[in-house]
Amino acid sequence: MPAIVVALVVLAVYLLGYRYYSAYLAKKVYALDPAFITPAHELRDGVDFVPTNKHVLFGHHFTSIAGAAPIVGPAIAVFWGWGPALAWVVLGTVFAAGVHDFGALAVSVRHRARSIGTLAREVINKRARTLFLLIIFFLLTLVNAVFAVVIATLFIATPQAVLPIVLEIPLAIAIGQYIYRTRSPALVPSIVGVILLYLSIGLGQLLPISLAPVADALGIGERALWVILLFAYTFVASRIPVWVLLQPRDYINSHQLFIALGVILLGILVGMDRIVAPVVNDVPEGSPSWFPFLFITIACGAISGFHSLVSSGTSSKQLDKETDARHVGYLGAVGEGSLALGSILACTAGVAAATTDWERLYADFATASDGAVGNFTAGVGAFAGNLGVPATTAAVFAAVVVISFAATTMDTGVRLQRYIIQEIAEIARVRVIARNVTVVTTLAVLIPLGMALLPGGGDEGYTFGVLWQLFGTTNQLTAGLALAVVAVWVTRNSRNPIAVLVPLVFLLSMTTWALWINLGNFIEAGDWVLAPLDAIIFVLAAWLIVEAAMALLRAWRRPGEPAYADDQEAKAGEQ
């Protein structure tokens, strides 16, 4: 089937979802009110609380939520065929991610732009705050571990990408300083910066960098060496003020995001590539079954709990009108779904132009997951080739995009992990950890480093897909917690919560089921690193189910009762 047909059909479904389903959510479920005074106006401070045009805010929101995850998950999941992967991405985006991202934004706006963690404590109970911190701790640990492996794998597969990525750092700092000091419009310097970055790809092709000789001399695998170097880098990068490196690089990345999406869509349109992968792949015996593992392999791109942190953390503080939440929240999910669509097509159609033997690339789950990112870059390379860019240069371009996204996620991840460890240490009253930034940063780096390397070193470590799925489970649990908060709020306000309950129940069922199966597999294989980790996440999932069910029952029995401190104050004021 031509990829362009699939792309157009999916985009049409997204459009219908936005036009009709999000309108239903806005009117009947979240009851948005155009006259409501949003926190951006009520608490306006010119820094965090700034009323922002809805199209501009959508851009901010989308560039914050989009990254490497909606690319990697679908690139692995096409192992089961493009049909199941695409169906979950489309249905997940329209009926789960849209509800979740939009709902988290709507609830946060109604409660002075509070974060989902704070809302969980208020709406469920104090334990929910601890539960939230623990889920986020494991989420960040696994995010940092999987993205270190993704970058290391790409550096080895595409040594031409190393130099552009290294040069991106001084380039980002220079652009940041230039814009800050001149205070002139940033369009021209940004164009120059992006052109310089892509020119450095040529330099990278002339000077590919491989660490194989160094790794051999040290007696460790090349991937393990890259992983260690990456964490050493993040240790330093996470201690530098955000405005020096992280933000300018994020700034370049946000341009790259739109360029990459444009290249994929235009490449599909011009090349008219056909999908060569089977709709449903006949996977070898012993492979994980698509039901339920598909739903934790694709988290970002179908539904991702991380989005609720962005919705409630930053976007809710900038919403000009409450009704804009529909545009920003729901369309943000659609944008992420479009990136996942691009990844599926790159790995099932685009990659076909680079290799005719798709079955070999997805021969078994280990091969599929280890080669997933490489398949995506080859696919995007093929799409860019349709636009006249030399295939090898285009593949390096795609690798640079993915590595840039993943590296920025790692920077942010280690930084956030530091705060989470400090908060957990405060609760546990371990002052040595809570008060010492060096100790906290060391822990934030060493824990995911160990996860990425153990056992047997990076080159003979876990099947990457297994680690990725564990990351998916924590991401889905975060989404479950956010959906539970939204569902309680909707129920307490005497509105029909079915649109929120269906994705909540589905998500938690699939995640706990997959965790349970994996736990059995790990114990059977005698894997005493992953088995306890899986068991802990399973306990967190069970705990979340119990807390969510209790909070929902309370809300069901006493509709109309204020769920939050603000609501209670408001009600007391009315009386």
């Binding site: 010119g46 820094v47 851009g59 901010h60 560039t63 419009p185 940033a186 955000v242």
Partner: protein, 96 residues
């Protein structure tokens, strides 16, 4: 094409370019500037907390030397304590 037409096109193109620049700045540069302002505010908050130690019941050994700075802090004191999650500052006459 007459010179006045060319001039008209030039003005329209310059206007369009400025609009694109403005949109680009709002879309991409605003979050980055916000980050800078947030960092500046964080450093200001630390300074303010140090200067107002006595308001928290902690002796400030350099209170006499920093007294001149206090009037500069009163202007946005209300916004500061609201941001820190305190509805009232607790010192009638100074704020709220």
């Amino acid at each position: 094409m007459r010179p006045s037409d060319v001039e008209g096109w030039r003005i329209r193109a310059a206007g369009a370019w400025r609009r694109v620049e403005r949109f680009h700045d709002e879309l991409f540069v605003a979050p980055w500037r916000q980050g800078l302002e947030r960092e500046a505010r964080r450093q200001g908050d630390v300074l303010r907390a140090l200067l107002l130690l006595e308001a928290f019941g902690v002796d400030n050994p350099v209170a006499y030397e920093t007294l001149d700075l206090v009037p500069q802090l009163v202007a946005d004191l209300h916004e500061w304590h609201l941001r820190l999650g305190q509805e009232r500052f607790g010192d009638p006459g100074v704020c709220c």
